[in-house]
Amino acid sequence: MDAAVPAWSEAFASGSAGRLVRDGPLGRLSRDEVFGDADGAGVVVAVIDSGVDADHPAVLGHVARRLRVDVDGDAVRVVDDESAGDLVGHGTACAGIIAGIAPAARLVSIRVLGADNRGKGRAVAAAVDWAIEEGIEVVNLSLSSRSEAMFGVFHDLADRAYFANVLLVCAANNVPGPSYPSLFAAVLSVAAHDIADPDVWFYNPSPPVEFGAFGVDVDVPWRDGGRIRATGNSFAAPHLAGQAARLRSRHPAATPFEVKALLAATANPTP
């Protein structure tokens, strides 16, 4: 890939958002009409990450199920594990952001990091496959695989998810290079903007990253009941996963492309 390719967040940085100007076919829709008072009720959101600290005050009562992925040689299994806490703090941060936006959504944590699988592409793929089979409405993926060998696997998974009405919300990488599945068209890709407002999001008509959400210096829950201020596309993605959960709770039949279209039509006008 061209070394001169800019970081994906640049499109959403203050001062450069003019390039987001666009006259889309739906025009701008009212958020009140599109979202109403939807709070994510009836929707399940999977957080594929470092696990979730379910006792953290920010997510207490929101986590319906916890699983972990075991990698043992060629065998990869997704197993229930209610003790699968957060090894880093990152998964709890993502879950906390989602719970803050869609408080009635039920969260499922699938831990793919750990001493044994180390966030390997196969572990992430197994977690996505599980979410598709379970018909999870929204999946937050604040991590991705850089292995060229996983291109085909994630491409198939992204297409399967799309047609199964499982919306994959993926954080883009801020460095050029392969990043699967976050740069596939079938997913909703998100980079960070620096406007300190969780309700501000932008649509970017210049792919590969389609959406920008709050991701700079975000106050988030962290490991062992703590809080931390964190920056990264990782924290932008769950803002839109939360909004997608609200949309799916108000419009249960909405498909991924309809969710993307509605999020684009309700995006903030460029500053």
Partner: protein
């Protein structure tokens, strides 16, 4: 079946290549270390940060080993290693995702293994994975941005610096792979296809000695005059590159004279 004469010629060529590479490495030492040091120094200046470091993944021990740093206690962190799957650096490494956190000093849950070892406790950390199309090789950490938290632009700049460091590390890894390949070829050729003894009847001990000699220099003795000469040339390149040519001319004269002496009857 292999041709013993061709094997011997190939062996001699590989030995010559190994010796030349080893001598070159001694005369131009660790250019990659200097580049990595330049990257972390640049990171502290451009991002107005207190410190920066680069940790490289060691796949054998599955640890992140610090190889370069700039800022306070920078000498202490080099050589330290941390769990490749834990903490902010571990997250960036295992997920390939750039991550910045603030207020870590105030958080008692912060992983303090590095802070304890160096006595330097950061307030904020920006961890950027060192990635390219071949995978993730390490992490660039930038600590304590003065005057506030890390911005989107900081993330971009760190990404660009990480890319430079990745190229340096990938080149170093390829050089290491080439050395390993060379060693493997030497062993294979010296051993031939008959197992214990090679085409020239070498036993295992002789093969070991040959490979060791070819890949670790003309002599394992660091005081060997040959290496003294190589080290002197290396020092001379730093203080007066022009003189290297002059020394080469002297050596030419010396060797020609020695050649003439050896042809003289009775010498």
């Amino acid at each position: 079946m292999t041709d013993p004469q061709a094997d011997a010629a190939a062996l001699a060529t590989l030995v010559a290549v190994a010796r030349r590479l080893d001598a070159a490495a001694r005369i131009v030492p660790a250019a990659d270390d200097a580049l990595l040091s330049a990257v972390v120094a640049t990171a502290t200046v451009v991002l107005d940060a207190q410190a920066a470091s680069i940790a490289v993944h060691d796949p054998i021990g599955d640890r992140l080993v610090f190889v370069a740093s700039a800022g306070p206690s920078s000498g202490d962190v080099v050589g330290l290693d941390i769990d490749a799957a834990a903490g902010i650096a571990g997250y960036a490494f295992t997920t390939g995702q750039q991550l910045a956190v603030a207020d870590v000093a105030a958080d008692p849950r912060f992983d303090r293994s590095v802070a304890d070892a160096t006595g330097y406790v950061p307030g904020s950390i920006l961890a950027t994975p060192l990635v390219d199309a071949e995978g993730t090789v390490g992490v660039l950490e930038i600590l304590d941005r003065r005057g506030g938290t890390f911005t989107l632009r900081d993330l971009e700049v760190a990404g660009a610096l990480a890319r430079e460091a990745t190229i340096v590390l990938r080149t170093r890894r390829h050089a290491g792979d080439a050395a390993a390949l060379l060693r493997g070829a030497l062993v294979a050729l010296a051993a031939g296809d008959r197992g214990e003894t090679g085409p020239s009847g070498l036993d295992e001990a002789a093969i070991d000695a040959l490979v060791s000699d070819a890949t670790s220099g003309l002599s394992t003795d660091p005081d060997d005059p040959t290496w003294r000469l190589a080290d002197q040339i290396a020092r001379m390149r730093e203080v007066d590159p022009d003189s290297v040519g002059l020394v080469a001319d002297w050596l030419d004269v010396l060797l020609r004279r020695r050649g003439a002496d050896s042809r003289r009857p009775g010498s």
